[in-house]
């Protein structure tokens, strides 16, 4: 009588080497997992959070993001130009515009005489999935202009007569602000 397996057809003669291949594959995957864990041990963001001169565009964006992160809408609005702050203050201070984000990484800064563009990768955290919150990284751009101070001399920002920088275009996480001309 033919065994039941024979119904399916012939079994490969090189079963042993195939089994070895399967084990090699399994070992390779285990190795991959171990490498990932080893990387986890060494990749620890050793440099920590960066610090910049207080009147630089980077510091302005950093203060803004810190304030948004902590839910301090009024402090966040203080980093915007006066016109933008008036238009956006209500949105920034509304509770549902406090996003949860885990990380903001500065990727690029472009400076011109009257404008600075700061690009930041922001990792947003949302939802409460069974295996922890989901994350999504968005690339955002902050456009800043020098904040004029009548008595201030030339400062380290490089903009003559400027006293630091202010965000001049509607910033993340807002899309528009009520009453803003051209928004």
């Amino acid at each position: 009588m033919a065994p039941a397996r024979a119904i399916i057809g012939p079994v490969s003669g090189s079963r042993r080497s195939q089994r070895r291949n399967s084990r090699v594959a399994l070992a390779a995957i285990a190795g991959l997992a171990l490498v990932a864990l080893a990387l986890a041990a060494i990749a620890t963001g050793r440099r920590g959070v960066a610090s910049y001169p207080a009147d630089s565009p980077e510091a302005t964006v950093q203060r803004y993001l810190d304030a948004v992160s902590d839910g301090r809408g009024a402090d966040a609005a203080a980093e915007l130009t006066d016109e933008l702050a008036d238009a956006c203050r209500s949105r920034l201070t509304t509770y549902y515009f406090q996003p949860e984000f885990t990380r903001a990484v500065l990727t690029e800064v472009e400076r011109r005489d009257d404008q600075a563009v700061v690009r930041v990768d922001i990792t947003e955290s949302y939802g409460g999935g069974p295996f922890g919150p989901d994350e999504n990284t968005v690339r955002t751009t902050f456009v800043l202009t020098p904040r004029r101070a009548p008595t201030a001399p030339t400062n380290s920002s490089g903009a003559d007569g400027a006293a630091g920088w202010a965000i001049s275009e509607v910033p993340w996480p807002l899309y528009d602000c009520p009453g803003l001309v051209g928004a």
């Binding site: 997992a33 060494i42 990380r103 955290s125 922890g132």
Partner: protein, 597 residues
């Protein structure tokens, strides 16, 4: 990404549960349908009792979890909601006695002294209950252990409810595991057979392992990349904690996968269920993951060389490369491992799972390539007819790079899988060719692609004509009109070709099939013998057959002796007849009788 997967898994579980419930009244978990008369009243009563038991067990587990949670101090919580304690108490007070009572009732039904114990143990309702309880308790326990472990290794707050849930749902799982093994033994399922609850656990473990490993590695590499090239402005959660969270998921998933798959299900033979799991989840899932990772890498490189990237520095532009590379490696590892497992149990015949694999991969490749062609078509019109005043458009070079990436990724996948099937079918024997052309997978593939593409083409054609007629009526038809309807025109061109091609193939298939297509039916075997159920189960477990068993009374059992199972399979494989009757003679040998259709 994780919640999306879990939503999908939940939906799949619901669909699977409904399908199982429909078949549960009659079917055991092999392909064999027992021909014993089914007492519908008893089956409905059983489902009701077991459904109630499952519900009270959930109440009990959640109630106990809530009580444990109340006993554990919570970080960052000033006061507790008394309603939570009240709810936990109510769940426990109602759930525990009800669950104990129903469990005792079910235990009595399963006790050897009960006349119907064997029927209870073999019933589809009991199998469905065990499948659902084991799978749900595994999922909930894994999520709860993840939360507890994330508190231990990362900076997460301790969730007392999670501790309670981890304990109560793990206990629920541990209580049901031996019951499932006992049922398998009673059904005569060989050790190592990949039963549905084993494959469900294997899938949960595999996906958790792959996601956890991939996300841990991606976050770790992102951390290294950021340290090397960028500055961190704000860090709510440190890299180490974010990696640890996912490493915990990988460890839990790995343990689950090793227990379910490596220890219990891996060494099963090529039965359809095992084959479908390895092929569709492991091989196809791995391939799709690797292709997505490769496509992201190719797009980043192409955009940098030929396009106009947003970022001005290479470091900023290629910041997505670590994640894409990890996706590629994880997908390739999944694909490689499951291919090697498949090689251990080569099937001589092409199964429905093989077909689903080929047609799904071909469809994914074709859709990707078609989107690429549409994007390229739109880019071409923009280049030829785009007015200077058009603003807020992606640079043309970027659109071309996107189109090229989609085509370069999708076209090879479609070509390999689709023309592989076509070539194999053309060279196959008549019976195999008829089986392929008449298979449900191929017909669904052709009709779905034709239907979706045709509807998309028609809708786009309507949009295109509205734009054209509008401009004609207003007397402004010209290159501006062509530009305005460029997307609709691209969709009409791309999907129209796809719809036409698949309509032609469908017609060719129909013409090539015999007028009467008995091969579309599922072959049937009726076994009349002593020990018929065991024989029937053996036949059904390795072949896509519908097997009925009629037990011969008043004869000493001689299970399987003298029956040429190979001959039965050959008779079915080589075309009609599609109905066989296997009858045991008085001397213990067998007659195999073909039935005229």
């Amino acid at each position: 990404m994780i919640s999306a997967f879990l939503n999908f898994a939940l939906l799949a579980a619901i669909v699977f549960g409904i399908a199982k419930a429909i078949g549960a009244l009659r079917r055991t978990d092999t392909g064999f349908e027992p021909d014993e008369p089914t007492d519908v009243r008893e089956a409905v009563a059983r489902l009701f009792r077991l459904g109630l038991l499952a519900a009270t067990l959930v109440l009990t587990a959640e109630g106990i979890a809530g009580l444990v949670g109340e006993a554990i101090p919570r970080s960052g919580t000033l006061s507790r909601d008394p309603a939570e304690l009240a709810r936990a108490l109510a769940f426990t007070v109602v759930g525990v006695p009800a669950a104990l009572g129903l469990a005792a009732w079910t235990r009595r039904k399963l006790a050897p002294a009960d006349a119907d114990a064997d029927a209870e143990l073999r019933s589809g309702g009991w199998g469905l209950y065990l499948f659902a309880t084991l799978t749900v308790s595994l999922l909930v326990a894994l999520a709860a252990w993840h939360s507890v472990a994330a508190w231990a290794v990362a900076a997460d707050d301790l969730d007392g409810d999670a501790v309670g849930r981890a304990l109560s749902w793990t206990a629920l799982w541990a209580l049901h595991w031996p019951l499932a093994r006992r049922r398998s033994a009673a059904l005569g399922v060989p050790a190592g057979r990949a039963e549905p609850y084993l494959l469900a656990g294997s899938a949960i473990g595999l996906v958790s392992l792959a996601l956890g490993t991939g996300l841990a590695a991606a976050r770790a590499l992102d951390g290294v990349y950021e340290d090397r090239y960028f500055d961190v402005l704000v860090s709510g959660t440190g890299v180490r904690d974010r990696v640890a969270e996912q490493a915990v998921l990988a460890a839990l998933g790995g343990a689950t996968w090793v227990w379910y798959w490596v220890r219990h299900a891996r060494n099963d033979g090529p039965n359809p269920r095992w084959h479908a799991y390895v092929l569709l989840l492991g091989v196809l899932g791995g391939l799709a993951t690797a292709v997505v990772g490769g496509a992201r890498l190719a797009h980043a490189v192409g955009l940098w060389i030929f396009g106009r990237p947003d970022a001005s520095t290479a470091a900023a532009h290629f910041s997505s490369v670590p994640g894409a590379a990890v996706t590629l490696v994880v997908g390739a590892a999944l694909w490689w491992y499951h291919r090697s497992v498949l090689d251990l149990h080569p099937a001589s015949e092409r199964t429905e799972a093989d077909r689903i694999y080929d047609y799904l991969a071909a469809a994914v490749g074709l859709v990707t390539a078609t989107v690429g062609v549409i994007v390229a078509f739109v880019a071409l019109i923009e280049a030829l007819a785009g007015p200077e005043s058009a603003v807020d458009r992606s640079p043309l070079a970027n659109t071309v790079v996107l189109a090229a990436t989609l085509v370069l990724v999708g076209a090879p996948v479609w070509t390999v899988f689709w023309f592989g099937v076509q070539r194999r079918t053309a060279r196959a024997s008549e019976a195999a060719r008829v089986a392929e052309l008449g298979s449900i997978s191929r017909r669904v593939h052709l009709l779905a692609l034709f239907g979706v593409a045709a509807v998309a083409a028609l809708v786009a054609l309507v949009v295109l004509l509205i734009g054209v007629f509008e401009d004609i009526a207003e007397g402004r038809a010209g290159t501006e009109t062509v530009f305005r309807v460029r997307v609709a025109a691209g969709i009409v061109a791309g999907t129209g070709v796809v719809a036409a091609y698949h309509a032609v193939v469908f017609r060719e298939d129909r013409a090539a099939l015999p007028a009467a297509r008995p091969a579309l039916a599922r072959p049937e075997v009726l076994v009349i013998a002593t020990g018929a159920p065991a024989l029937a189960r053996e036949l059904a477990s390795n072949n896509d057959l519908r097997v009925r068993a009629w037990e011969v009374a008043d004869r000493a059992p001689a299970v399987g002796a003298g029956l040429d199972l190979d001959g039965v399979a050959v008779a079915l494989r080589d075309g009609p007849p599609l109905r066989l009757v296997v009858v045991e003679r008085a001397d213990g040998s067998y007659d195999v009788i073909a039935i005229r259709s």
